[in-house]
Symmetry: C2
Subunit: 374 residues, 2 copies
């Protein structure tokens, strides 16, 4: 039985790039692959393409399933599909795994063609700007000169914003969701604790754990548990778990006592089995470094003067990681430049994770915005 | 040169207790020591005693110095001393290290008299209620029937509150500062991540690391780094560190890039050298388990009906760990029972740590309250 609002069975594709990519750090990536998926049909004048940029642990698998019985569709399947807010009857949607990732695009667990060995610790640090460069080459290869929209939540929203600065003429609309113009000290502090948990794991081996046949599972698990705290609001955790005991009574031990502990351990364990630690380190550094205003003495309005796109900026009331105030900084800087900006602050209980949830009001706003773009 | 507002050079004392202590968990501690300090003079009718209860990583060394050249006075030296808000010219102040601690009182790193070996993993889990019981025996030994006041911040505030429930006739005033009637799911989640960092450290050895001549330093370091994020407000971290780079330029590495990272690593390293991991686990569990309303179907007003003390409750606006809303829950429950309650919500930037800071308004309120008690 097929779901008519699903893009259906999807197959990832791989684009290979032989031209070296000069990274912001000064390093040069000699050649690389990007794995991507597409949904919908590119129209004749190639004007209906929408790029989806993923967040920290996201992938190119944004919508659809890999088989009929696949239990887990793409991570934004509730947003993207025929008749959905991002309607694939109308748009040609691209999901791409970022450079440095661990889901098919070239990253630390890939072979360095220059040495024939795994990149490991030698894989360079990549930035939001580098990702935008790499994504633009994928667009070139697909013959897409201008995107109808570039869309992202969290770190993905930062990429959507960066696109409007790096390639102002290639983005007609940017949807910047649950994002921020840079990280606060507290945001960076959480990243640092997560990284230190990984780096000090004895099985990290300076980032070359592949050679040792081990994985810094403990550190990655701690990083993910911590991440989950920042993705959920205090209220959402309270509603979901409160102080509920696993077994109904206190056991006076360090085993799981509270339901919330069980949830965190499960999330941590699952992630530690499936995600690459070196990728995690690089994704958090990309977050830390993103700061378009840095080159303009911290003046975001000056930094965003280059943008020509129209914008939809969305934040969520209970998001304490990237609070509505941070989105409003982006909105203000865009308005200072007389950009066309729609801004919505969604009342939502789920914290930062709200951008992934099928909230009716949120989805209606995305749908209405996209219905109105040329 | 002596500071006339300091209690001066202090010497810790040790009280030994031979009568077994039945703990809330069902375990029995056969005998134990409590290390404590006193400042000021106990008056003839022993009516001027004030007990200070410490927070997670606190100690009995609340005020004064150990030598003339001691650079670090007790942790609440700005609050306690001759002429200070808690005036030792008037009050006899007691600081005590809690059971399970690692600063002299019996804890996991002490010898179990029953086996002649270190307690290690076999040291029982202790609760706020257990601490209050143990503290009451110290009061008995010192001949103190009733405390003029019991004072604590954070986990210490929980002990002050518990005293009014366990021994309603032995506390005339309770100063409950930057505390909460229980932990939220988010609070407990941070504790769980910290504990998991320690427990999964390969050098933890199930809690018996002493026998192996090692310390789970990595885990303890991560736990402390994480703790510091929750002690400071986002704004305080922003004011103190912002996005300041250590060397003035980005190096594209996982070494210290931002000042905040340097601060967190320093705090983590220092703590990992000086604190006991088994104690840390137990202190966080005591926090998790504290929930006086649990036996009253979650009704805090019913739970606090036993209290007879007068109360001063203080919270700090930027404290997101134990927010003012949590203090107001305590105030409301006390008012429901027609207790005498003064409540102050201090505008302060320092987050949870504000209770340790010499804020004038805060100190004036404590001073005024204590000047007015019999």
């Amino acid at each position: 039985m097929s779901d008519i609002s699903s893009v259906g069975i999807v197959v990832p594709q791989t684009a290979h790039f032989n031209e070296p990519l000069a990274l912001k750090s000064g390093a040069v990536l000699p050649a690389y692959d990007l794995v991507y998926e597409t949904y919908g049909t590119l129209n004749a004048d190639k004007s209906n393409a929408v790029l989806i940029c993923h967040a920290l642990s996201g992938t190119h698998h944004v919508a659809g399933k890999y088989s009929e019985n696949d239990k887990y569709p793409g991570w934004w399947d509730n947003m993207i599909g025929p008749g959905k807010p991002l309607d694939t009857n109308r748009f040609f949607v691209i999901g791409v795994n970022n450079l440095g990732g661990c889901h098919g695009s070239t990253g630390p667990s890939s072979i360095n063609p220059g040495t024939g060995k795994l990149w490991g610790s030698t894989f360079p640090i990549v930035t939001v700007e580098d990702w935008v460069q790499a994504q633009s080459r994928l667009a070139d290869q697909l013959g897409i000169k201008t995107f109808a929209a570039i869309v992202g939540g969290s770190l993905g929203g930062m990429q959507a914003l960066q696109w409007t600065l790096t390639f102002p003429d290639r983005v007609r609309n940017a949807l910047v969701i649950a994002a921020a113009p840079n990280l606060t000290a507290q945001n960076m502090a959480f990243n640092e604790v997560a990284r230190q948990a990984i780096i000090t794991d004895p099985e990290f081996h300076g980032g070359d754990y592949y050679e040792h046949g081990v994985v810094p599972r403990r550190g990655l698990r701690i990083a993910r548990m911590l991440g989950h705290i920042t993705y959920l609001s205090d209220d959402a955790m309270g509603d979901k778990f409160g102080r509920k005991l696993r077994s109904g009574e206190i056991k006076y031990s360090f085993d799981v006592e509270f339901e919330m502990e069980s949830y965190l351990r499960y999330q941590g364990d699952k992630f530690a089995e499936s995600f690459d630690a070196n990728t995690y380190l690089r994704m958090t550094r990309a977050l830390d470094y993103f700061d378009p205003a840095a080159d303009c003495n911290g003046d975001l309005s000056t930094a965003l003067a280059k943008a020509k796109a129209d914008f939809l900026v969305i934040s969520f009331t209970s998001d304490w990681r990237f609070s509505p105030a941070r989105s409003r900084e982006i909105v203000k800087a865009l308005l200072d430049n007389e950009r066309s900006v729609a801004y919505a602050e969604i009342t939502a209980a789920h914290g930062h994770d709200a951008f992934l949830m099928p909230d009716q009001h949120y989805h209606d706003i995305v749908r209405a915005y996209l219905e109105n773009i040329a």
